[in-house]
Amino acid sequence: MEKKTDRVIITVVGKDTVGIIAKVCTYLANNRINVLDISQTIVQGFFNMMMIADIADSSKPFDECSRELTQIGEEIGVSIKCQREEIFNKMHRI
């Protein structure tokens, strides 16, 4: 049987600086959140990263992860957003 996943999209937008990915990934690893995919680009001069992650095995509930990631973003001066994946699938897939 396929293992149950609970996928969230983490987006990071802001001015590029050293260690953004490291900080986010450290947090995810510490909380048993598995990264499934990462893509990154510069849009209109801004650092844009999107991660697909699986929080099924996470030690913390979605709300707490989301709040703590936002806090990490504030500490390093970027905006971090955590959303459940369904909203994107709904909007862009028939």
Binding site: I9, S39, M50, I52, K81, Q83, I87, N89, M91
Partner: protein, 454 residues
């Protein structure tokens, strides 16, 4: 798998183009609260609302956090109170006690508005209906979040002109009682022709008698998203224009569908409908008038406005219908004046008149909405404006409505301030000629013939 540009597009809509879900409205039947004892009735109503809607606001906020999509309003609609209260209420003052109970219950569960202080009198009025209608001014004065609506006509029954006359008087009285706040009591009062049973939008939401015990209805929004999409196809032909609106409406509605399903699942209450409406707010960039401008009009109200609006309304429905499993409510583009900065600008520029707005209501939902008129407008003239709008709905088999605010103490050229989502409105001139003899005839206008359509 979800790709980067899809995420980017969705989040840009939310962050920069004001994409939101305008409302989750929980419809609650109060039929099982009916009691001939007024105190018992009030107690049962309070208990039912505060039990069924206990988790509504918390669940709404949870969904907001899960998807980072704002859900602007959480609301409740209830069975028309004229039906629920007629066994217990012997006079208008008795009905006011129910309005106060609704207000308390709504505040207890933390919703923005509660609708359903309503009467359905499209053919005739019972004593209970009339008492409720006569209680509306005091009910709206003495409550904060209660909304009232009255259905005055329908395609099948014609127009109840006695009730139209009475509502002209009640609107004026409501304005008078709330004059210290620019008569804003009238912003919570709307009259309908062909009122839908499942409308999630205020002030006209009520929980129809054909509905289940409790139901979740969701109203979507997103004029800013449509406008931004259209800016990318400037100068293209109508085919491209229409395709762009449809695709955008599809995306907006899918978000509404997701929110509705999630709210339904988490609350354990069945999903009713999505209302496919482009609902503007006074925020810059969240305007239906701006879409009309983007389509190619200098101002909303310029020649071509009715055609552009007809097109917009139809394409929104075509795109939205496929995105949702059930569509209902008012579904169309809203054209309130005070809640739409582009409309306000058009009125100020002299491009948009009451008569043009009336023409626009023939092709879109919902009607003459949030229009401020001089405070010295007579009740008969207000009834005449209502009768015209009801006639449009009756003949065209569509919902039409009037939410008009005679701003006591102010005249043309001045501005009424309502605040928040209700915005502000320049006071518009009204045709000065009398319709008193017409309104005073009494009785009802017969239902129209459904053949020989011309």
């Amino acid at each position: 798998m979800t790709n980067f540009w899809e995420v980017h597009e969705t989040n840009k809509m939310i962050e920069q183009e004001n994409l939101d879900v305008r409302t989750i409205t929980l419809g609650i039947s109060l039929m099982d609260c009916i009691d001939s004892d007024l105190d018992a009735l009030n107690r049962k109503i309070y208990e039912k609302i505060t039990t069924v809607a206990r988790d509504l606001v918390a669940v709404g906020k949870e969904i907001e956090r899960n998807y980072c999509i704002p859900i602007v309003n959480k609301r409740i609609s209830v069975t028309p109170i004229a039906l629920v209260g007629s066994a217990a209420c012997k006079c208008p003052a008795d009905f006011v006690t129910i309005a106060k109970t609704l207000d308390e219950a709504a505040k207890k569960v933390g919703v923005n508005f509660i609708g359903g202080y309503s009467a359905l009198v499209s053919k005739g009025m019972t004593t209970g209906d009339e008492n409720l209608i006569r209680s509306i001014p005091e009910a709206l004065r003495s409550t904060e979040v209660v909304c009232s609506s009255v259905n005055l006509g329908s395609t099948k029954t014609g127009i109840n002109m006695d009730a139209v006359k009475l509502m002209g008087e009640m609107i004026k009285e409501t304005a008078q009682l709330t004059k210290e706040r620019d008569s804003m009591g009238c912003s919570k009062l709307v009259v309908f022709c062909n009122a839908p049973d499942d409308n999630p939008f205020m002030a006209g939401a009520f929980h129809g008698v054909t509905e289940a015990d409790a139901i979740i209805n969701v109203g979507v929004s997103g004029p800013g998203v449509v406008k931004t999409a259209l800016a990318k196809v400037r100068g293209e032909n109508f085919e491209v224009l229409c395709e762009t609106i449809k695709k955008t409406a599809f995306k907006i509605t899918r978000v509404g569908q997701l929110v509705a399903q999630e709210a339904s699942r988490r609350l354990g209450i069945p999903f009713g409908i999505i209302d496919l409406s482009l609902a503007p707010t006074p925020a810059i960039g969240d305007s239906v008038a701006d879409i009309l401008t983007e389509i190619g009009l200098e101002y909303a109200g310029a020649p071509g406005t009715t055609a552009a609006l007809a097109l917009l309304n139809d394409q929104v429905k075509k795109g939205g219908v496929m995105a949702s499993s059930y569509v209902g409510g008012l579904s169309g583009a809203f054209i309130p004046v005070s809640e739409d900065q582009g409309m306000i600008d058009a009125v100020k520029a002299g491009a948009l008149t009451l008569e043009k707005l009336e023409a626009m209501t023939c092709v879109c939902s919902v009607g003459l909405d949030m229009i401020a008129i001089p405070g010295d407008t007579s009740p008969a003239t207000i009834s005449g404006i209502i009768a015209d709008e009801m006639a449009i709905g009756m003949v065209n088999q569509k919902t039409t409505a009037v939410r008009i605010i005679p701003v006591i103490g102010k005249g043309v050229g001045e501005t009424a301030q309502f605040g928040g989502l209700l915005g502000y409105a320049p006071i518009m001139p009204v045709n000065p000629y009398s319709c008193e003899a017409f309104v005073n005839r009494g009785g009802r206008i017969p239902a129209p013939i459904h053949s020989f359509k011309n």
